[in-house]
């Protein structure tokens, strides 16, 4: 599956109501590091299809979600299990780091 776009309107349904863990990538189009991790985030969405949902929050368009989860730096990744966010991962330097952090 390709990553889904998360907004304040669909957050409750797609993230809080999800039956699998949800990895959410907070990003913005102007952020170079966000572009660099994007291919890996896309790949994780396919590789772990069925075990994990991958979503993306564009912080320019979703300031409410950015504020609610206190995202100060992008890219920040959050992993939601049963609707609750764990420790954030800020600007990962490798795919391996994301896989370790997410416990995949």
């Amino acid at each position: 599956m390709t990553p889904i776009s998360i907004t304040k309107e669909n957050f409750a349904q797609l993230v809080e109501g999800a039956e699998t863990p949800v990895l959410v990538d907070f990003w913005a189009p102007w952020c170079g590091y966000c572009r660099r991790i994007a291919p890996v985030v896309d790949q994780l969405a396919q590789q772990y299809d069925g075990q994990l949902v991958v979503g993306k929050v564009n912080v320019d368009e979703q300031p409410e979600l950015e504020e609610r989860f206190q995202v100060e730096i992008i890219p920040t990744l959050l992993l939601f299990r049963d609707g609750k966010a764990g420790e954030p991962l800020v600007n990962p330097g490798s795919k391996a780091q994301i896989v370790d952090w997410a416990g995949l």
Binding site: Y33, R36, P39, K95
Partner: protein, 313 residues
């Protein structure tokens, strides 16, 4: 995960690595690029590459990297987004352990590049991304309208300071010497753009709350100390080759660059060094790409000799 074997493994997916992969694949060799994050390396963090021939208006570094990856893939090169944690280069076949499994190959092209040098100050690591940055074009936007310090006195420091002067309220350039290691016109350009240069000054400490709040400065001549409040510190004090993994296996110079001449052959048969990681005079995207083509050529020659049972060069 199963072991996978290729004719050639390329470690590092910057312009050197993907050019090597393109040339290997076009020669009919099986080739995989092992890249820990995504294509492009240092180039991917360059906002606008203006000196790579063929792009007359310039091109975004990340986009150029994506194109290089796609081009190599069109001829059959694979990308593995894996971090290499072990490399045994003197055995046959050569063996790499990565976060995506074990990869073996008859020839290996090392194209791991270089990363920015740290100042080595306490809390520097903890403040990374919280006021301390190493790439002005990547992180500059976070400091729009703020006060920043650039550390360094070479070309990168000058370019970073100029880039930031267009975004930030105030830019200081802190340099431990009394002149820049950059073209003579740089000083005038910097001052013309409102950059204040603090000569003969080094940064001795970082002040912080949750994020960076300032830097501690020392006058190199008098030893006088003071503090300068700032929101961001951009460190541009050179680069370090990413070669720790190959220590003790491949010959290096004193700075850790892999010793190889224009043939890209290293001290280990069947192991080639391409791009910024190699001992060379000019480190540019175009010279990295050139190294990739040369490494692919000599890797192919090595494989031919290996398969004919001849003593490889």
């Amino acid at each position: 995960m199963a072991e996978r074997h290729y004719d050639v493994a390329v470690i590092g997916g910057g312009p050197a690595g993907y050019t090597a992969a393109l040339y290997c694949a076009r020669s009919g060799l099986t080739v995989a690029v092992l890249e820990k994050l995504s294509a492009g390396g240092q180039m991917a963090t360059t906002d606008w590459v203006e000196n790579y021939p063929g792009f007359d208006e310039g091109i975004n570094g990340f986009e150029l990297a994506q194109q290089m990856e796609r081009q190599a893939r069109r001829f059959g090169a694979e990308s593995i987004y894996g971090e290499v944690t072990e490399a045994e280069l003197s055995v046959s076949p050569k063996r790499m352990v990565s976060s995506e499994g074990v990869i073996t190959a008859d020839a290996v092209i090392l194209a791991t590049g270089a990363y920015p040098r740290e100042l080595g100050l306490p809390d520097e690591g903890a403040l990374r991304g919280r006021g301390v940055a190493y790439c002005a074009t990547c992180d500059g936007m976070f400091y729009k309208g703020k006060t920043v310090v650039v550390a360094g006195g070479g070309n990168t420091a000058v370019e970073d300071a100029l880039y930031l002067s267009k975004l930030c309220r105030k830019v200081y350039l802190v340099h431990r010497r009394d002149r820049l290691r950059a073209p003579a016109s740089s000083r005038q350009t910097l001052e013309g753009n409102g950059v204040e240069i603090l000569w003969n000054t080094r940064i001795t400490g970082l002040r912080r709350e949750k994020t960076l709040t300032g830097v501690e400065l020392e006058d190199v001549a008098s030893g006088a100390r003071r503090e300068l409040a700032c929101d961001g510190l951009f460190v541009a004090v050179g680069r370090v080759p990413d070669t720790a993994l190959f220590a003790g296996q491949v010959e290096m110079d004193g700075a850790g660059y892999l010793k190889a001449d224009e043939s890209t052959r290293t001290s280990v048969p069947g192991v080639f060094a391409a791009g910024d990681v190699r001992t060379k005079a000019v480190r540019q995207v175009v010279t990295a790409a050139a190294d990739g083509a040369v490494a692919a050529h000599f890797a192919e020659e090595y494989l031919l000799a290996l398969r004919e049972g001849a003593e490889p060069l």
